[in-house]
């Protein structure tokens, strides 16, 4: 198994658990949707995976690397986890190019422009290389956020409500694109959503989260792979 999550507990306040004994695992290249209403703890699960929060108990392992256990904890910046935020969080003081380059710390300077070009081609945004985030539409911003998260080749991609800021027409189109990009790069991805249609269109599997518990899992049509 590529991703193993076992017995994850988390609470902000004592005695008000947000997540309670969450366990599941994923294969490499699999896309999983975490589906739940607001307050179900789905965003918190992403924050635990990315290392922005520390679980009170549990074990997280990705690609045979233990990120969190009873005795160890890898900080967010050392996890190599890509994340697309709900409202994208593109750095407003940097151009598109700089935003993508920001994650390429470990890539040699001379190789960065090429990688940026690759990423922009992947999301079909080459002409916006020198634009600033506020000059882009919501859909464009989302693609740049995706490119930025993918650029450092993370071991897993986490997406937090990726469609919540898009209107309905755009949403349909981008869903398809997103799945295509993910499959093209063979990226393992988890995204959280409250919309069953989103989950059904993109994910290979849907995990239902309710009040901090996994209540159900649903495998999508396998032939789509």
């Amino acid at each position: 198994m590529y991703v193993v999550i076992e017995g994850l507990d988390f609470s902000y306040m004592p005695k008000e658990p947000v997540l309670n004994d969450v366990s599941f695992s994923m294969e490499e290249g699999e896309i999983v949707a975490i589906l739940g209403s607001s307050g179900s703890g789905k965003s918190t699960l992403l924050r635990l995976l990315s290392g922005l929060e520390i679980p009170s108990q549990g074990h997280i392992e990705i690609n045979e690397r233990t990120l969190c256990s009873a005795t160890s904890f890898v900080e967010c910046e050392d996890r190599s986890v890509g994340m697309v935020f709900q409202d994208y969080a593109l750095f407003p003081h940097m151009s598109v190019e700089k935003n993508i380059a920001f994650g390429l710390k470990k890539v040699h300077k001379s190789l960065r422009p090429k990688r940026i070009t690759e990423m922009l081609e992947l999301v079909n945004m080459t002409e916006k290389r020198h634009s600033y985030p506020h000059e882009l539409s919501g859909g464009q911003q989302q693609r740049i956020a995706l490119a930025r998260a993918l650029a450092p080749s993370p071991s897993i991609l986490l997406l937090d409500e990726p469609f919540s800021n898009l209107d309905a027409d755009l949403k349909l189109k981008i869903r398809q694109e997103l799945r295509a990009i993910m499959k093209l790069t063979n990226m393992t991805a988890i995204f959280v959503t409250h919309d069953y249609d989103d989950a059904k269109d993109i994910a290979d599997r849907i995990v239902y989260l309710e009040q901090g518990h996994i209540v159900h899992e649903e495998q999508m049509n396998p032939e789509r792979k």
Binding site: E77, V81, P92, H93, G103
Partner: protein, 547 residues
């Protein structure tokens, strides 16, 4: 599991934050221990004959100053944000200018103008009118404090009002609320936090002041602290009085929290700002006229009076040592400001995210200094530094056999430390507000892209809150150059600043001679306020467009 958590929390930021907190709280503990001692004869004397008067006078003073500065600050902000009239843009920033004039300087100037030989009294006498307004009184002190401190309320309310969306008002209208109800049930409650925060600042500044109340003989607590120390020669009683003062401050702060309760006003609602209404009829003259009158009282009258005095005395006062004085003041203020802003940024950074009880209490401690009068901080810091020097003495000996024992105590570091203690809250709150506006997502995005906390601080946080940092720096800088009691007590030998020079002349009853150094302080502060209000607003949008 526990130590893993701990390890996660131990980093450069948390370490610096905790050390800062400790450095601030240790000197204060020294003071608190003093309170444990049983009261002596002096304390009994104060309690029997004076304490009641101090409490009543203090409550009257802060009560009146709070009411009037809240009223004036709110109304001027309301007029400036809701109505359009000639000179509005100019007034909108100039109304902050009275902050450039330290209260004690305004007090000296007004007392002199209204004294028998003063400009104002002479002008009236030439018209065969006499006045009996005695400025050296409680009402005079209220006037001085309100006129020099209302900008705190004005600034905060103005910014709250200009952010308030038209949606609230329109909603209220749709719901059929009349103008009166719109104002009291929608406009006022929404700016209430800003109004209260601004007023609280004014009250704390008033409680800290010593210059005005000493000169006017208004017997409030800061006066009492110095009086117990100086006339009765009892530092213990002085410290005890400051403890009582601290209790009053905490009650005031608690009352504010209690009244606010669990309501939240910070709803992030986007939308069009409210259209300003053009003033018509008689109001066209009355409202702007009232604002200009305030500018006149709070800024231009003292300014022109000082300019006149400067003309009388510049020959004797302006010399090479005045240049040194100015350089001293600037270099000291720059050093203190840079340190305060750096520490405040780190603290604000540390305090983002989940609020644990530990973080909350650390924050309260580091912000405590603003509520404590300068004189008390000065004693605390002095005792603390002497203690440190004693402990470090063996270390000094390693470098120099014949070293003096009091190394740090005789340098500027003691004074700078005291400034940090006193003004941390101001820097911190401005920076925290900037962080609040930006939110945490950019920082988290940076972590997720593999950047460390330090790299994120410099590459993401600092550029995004740059405006807030500059504002914080300017406000702290102005406060430092105006500061008097700390500077007076803790500066090294042969070291003078503009403020101590003003005080020195004033104590010698040479008011005319205070003009040149006073004007220098006012000039620097005015330029900075201009810079603050005319900061280039780069259109950096922190929120995405939704389409």
């Amino acid at each position: 599991m526990r130590w893993r958590r701990l390890k996660h929390h131990v980093n450069l930021f948390s370490l610096i934050s905790v050390i800062t907190g400790l450095l601030i709280v240790v000197p204060m503990l020294n003071i608190l221990f003093e309170i444990m001692n049983p009261g002596n004869e002096t304390w009994l004397h104060i309690r029997e004959h004076l304490l009641m008067g101090y409490v009543i006078n203090t409550l009257i003073l802060i009560g009146l100053v709070a009411v009037f500065s809240a009223l004036i600050g709110f109304l001027s902000a309301y007029v400036v944000t809701r109505f359009e009239f000639k000179g509005r843009a100019l007034l909108s920033w100039m109304l902050i200018l009275p902050l450039a004039i330290p209260s004690y300087i305004a007090a000296y100037v007004y007392a002199d103008m209204l004294s028998y030989t003063g400009t104002f009294s002479r002008a009236l006498r030439s018209l065969h009118v006499s006045h009996d307004f005695n400025i050296m009184s409680m009402s005079g002190a209220v006037f001085i404090f309100v006129m020099t401190l209302y900008p705190y309320v004005y600034m905060m309310v103005r910014s709250a009002l200009s952010k308030q969306s038209a949606a609230f008002i329109e909603n209220a209208r749709l719901l059929g609320a009349g103008k009166f109800r719109q104002f009291f049930q929608v406009v006022l409650p929404l700016v209430r936090p800003a109004l209260v925060a601004g007023t609280l600042l004014v009250v704390l500044e008033t409680l800290n002041d010593y210059g005005v109340v000493a000169y006017f003989n208004v017997r409030v607590f800061s006066f009492a602290i110095f009086d117990a120390w100086e006339r009765l020669g009892d530092v213990g009683a002085a410290i005890r009085l400051s403890a009582v003062l601290m209790v009053i401050v905490f009650v005031v702060i608690f009352l504010e929290r209690f009244l606010r309760g669990r309501r939240r006003y910070h709803l992030h609602v986007k939308g069009r700002p409210i259209q300003r209404k053009t003033l018509k009829g008689i109001n066209r003259f009355i409202l702007p006229g009232a604002l200009w009158l305030m500018m006149l009282l709070g800024f231009f009258i003292p300014l022109f009076q000082l300019l006149y005095y400067a003309r009388l005395t510049y020959r004797t006062v302006l010399n090479i040592s005045f240049v040194y004085l100015t350089i001293n003041t600037l270099s000291l203020a720059i050093t203190a400001t840079l340190i305060i802003i750096a520490l405040a940024t780190i603290l604000a950074n540390f305090n983002r995210g989940n609020q644990t009880a530990f973080k909350k209490s650390l924050l309260k401690i580091t912000n405590l200094g603003y509520a404590i009068p300068g004189a008390v901080i000065a004693i605390a810091v002095l005792v603390f530094f002497i203690d440190i020097d004693h402990r470090l003495y063996p270390l000094y000996r390693l470098f120099n056999e014949n070293t003096a024992r009091l190394v740090l105590t005789s340098t500027l570091s003691m004074l700078v430390f005291a400034y940090v203690l006193r003004f941390m809250a101001i820097g911190y709150n401005a920076i925290e507000a900037a962080y609040d506006k930006v939110g945490e997502k950019f920082t988290e995005a940076s972590y997720s892209l593999g950047h460390s906390k330090l790299s994120t601080l410099f590459r993401i946080d600092v550029p995004l809150i740059k405006g807030g940092l500059i504002s914080a720096a300017i406000i702290v800088f102005i406060d430092v150059i105006k500061e008097l009691p700390l500077t007076l007590i803790l500066r090294p030998t042969n070291y003078d600043t503009l403020a101590t020079q003003v005080f020195r002349y004033a104590r010698e009853e040479m008011l005319q001679e205070t003009a040149v150094p006073s004007l220098m302080i006012i000039l620097i502060a005015t330029l900075l306020i201009y810079g603050l209000t005319h900061q280039k607003k780069k259109d950096v949008r922190f929120h995405v467009r939704r389409d």
